[in-house]
Subunit: 169 residues, 2 copies
Amino acid sequence: METKIYEGRVLSLSVYDVKVEGRKVRREVIKHRGAAAVLAFDEKKRIILVRQHRFPHGYVLEIPAGTLEKKEEPLRCAFRELEEETGYRAKKMTPLITYYPSIGYNTEVIHCFVASGSKKVSDLKLDEDEILSVVKLSPNKVLSMIRAGEIQDSKTICAVLAYAASHSL
Amino acid sequence: METKIYEGRVLSLSVYDVKVEGRKVRREVIKHRGAAAVLAFDEKKRIILVRQHRFPHGYVLEIPAGTLEKKEEPLRCAFRELEEETGYRAKKMTPLITYYPSIGYNTEVIHCFVASGSKKVSDLKLDEDEILSVVKLSPNKVLSMIRAGEIQDSKTICAVLAYAASHSL
């Protein structure tokens, strides 16, 4: 049985009373449309990141990403978000890793892609409430920031470490 | 300004109307106490995982983890969850990586540790609504399951890839 608590812009919340393996359990569940995130490199093989204000955390350095629009395919969302947030257009997007950030209570799934052939084509096209700037760093610098705990965003960590595990950075 | 929407067992939800860089923005924020997760190895150097029912995803293979109790230190939580969920007691816990699963709208932070000197000391002590079993797999098998998309849980991916990036697995 689902009890709807809240339906919002980014997420909604329901409480479920369900039976699992014969036992009655109550589960609080966040529903989220999912997101796409992009590991992209500029002409000098630096990783293209965005520095963004994330309430209540403050400024956060992360790879470009955004929530899927209604009925939007993750691949299309990846192309769109990269260009909107950084002004770079990719030639190709290759699936890298797909994961659930909080599998215990959140339906959100994040589809990470690697962009190739990225070229700067425009200025940023930000949503009205997006506050961000573009930062480019060498892969080694990003890896050392992850190791030092200076980057703590799951999509950036998952994408960069998954890429590093199968490519030499 | 904060508007409280829901206060639950695992999480609560508020909507904030705030000013960021001079612009008024509305943010939906999940509040969560945070969690600890443990990358532990058995006597044969296999990774100790749990197979757990996660509504609405179904059965999920993941490293042992749990929500911090009120005022509980992440380190203490890591020792406790490893023993409760797997029956293994660690000699030592070393911080591995700390990350925000959904930095855009969720305060949850997950503290991942590497356990060393783990020994089986007891049977599982599960919470009433926990439904899980222990599975031990070689590090290479876990890595190949991450690559194949058969493990899609953020804490398992972050902990295993962060460990693999600095140790030979």
